[in-house]
């Protein structure tokens, strides 16, 4: 199966990704992002979302968790990294294992 990639984000920085064949969709706010993602979910296999938006539309992202496609992945945006990606990783770990095996060394 041939797949397509898209990126949803605010600001101009997402244009940079189109050089890699990722189609940029610029949105203004979280509500708009949700609409765009639900539209894109049928046609695109990978949807990148900038982190600042991903934080706000967590519920929508969760909806797509149960099936293999589409994959929704958060990437750092132009204004920096807010740690959302690591946080979701940590959440998955706690859900599955109940203990922290990766991040505990950072805390002490």
């Amino acid at each position: 199966m041939k797949g397509k990639m898209a990126i949803v984000g605010n600001g101009d920085s997402i244009v940079a990704f189109s050089a890699g064949g990722i189609v940029p969709y610029s949105v203004e706010n979280a509500v708009e992002a949700e609409e765009v993602i639900s539209k894109l979910a049928k046609d695109y296999q990978i949807i990148f979302v900038t982190e600042n938006l991903a934080v706000q539309i967590e519920e929508t992202i969760k909806k797509y968790l149960s099936s293999a496609y589409p994959i929704i992945l958060s990437v750092p945006s132009g204004d920096g990294n807010n740690g959302y990606g690591m946080k979701s990783l940590k959440k998955a770990m706690e859900k599955a294992l109940g203990v922290d095996i990766l991040f505990n060394e950072n805390n002490d």
């Binding site: 041939k2 990704f17 050089a19 890699g20 990148f48 968790l65 690591m86 599955a96």
Partner: protein, 210 residues
Amino acid sequence: MARINVNPTRMELNKLKGRLKTATRGHKLLKDKTDEMVRRFTVIIRENKALRDEVEKDVANLLSQFSVARSLMSKSDVALAFSMPSVSVQLECDKANIMSVKVPSLQLVENRSESKFPYGFASVTSEADYSVELVGKVLFKLVKLAEIEKITAMLADEIEKGKRRVNALEHVMIPNLQETIKYISMKLEENDRSSRTRLMKVKSMMENKV
């Protein structure tokens, strides 16, 4: 523990014994399955974290490079330079099977093009060239991360479900069945004893009469 509400008959007892056997067997299988999933999960999540660290660094690097490039060129030139894919790639999507969880499996197939950059060099600065090249490099890692992060999320979900099932079997279903089986067999023995004493009584009464 709560007892299942059934009639204390020999037939129910047999049925319940069968169910207990299946439940015990299912519990063992499910436990083995979740244990194996947890083992794989721990491997994958370490990989995931390392890759995520790497990608976040790369993307930050790319974006800062891009903002430099953008500041040096006109808006239309930027749109032009970045609108065409610099690496012509084809994303191949497939599904893999990890412990009967259907996970995505992605592959980027690169088609070599003659020119490295899909635009003329006159209006595009070298900073832009550099960031376009970076995008191509980051892309592979991004796709890999997308795949592995989805696998992590799906496995975590599946492990949670599996654990819940194992616990339900271990702490609810199996004790309930055991308790009910015990109750029925005790009831049956009780019935047995009472009918025997009745017989003995009847027999002694008859002997007394004669």
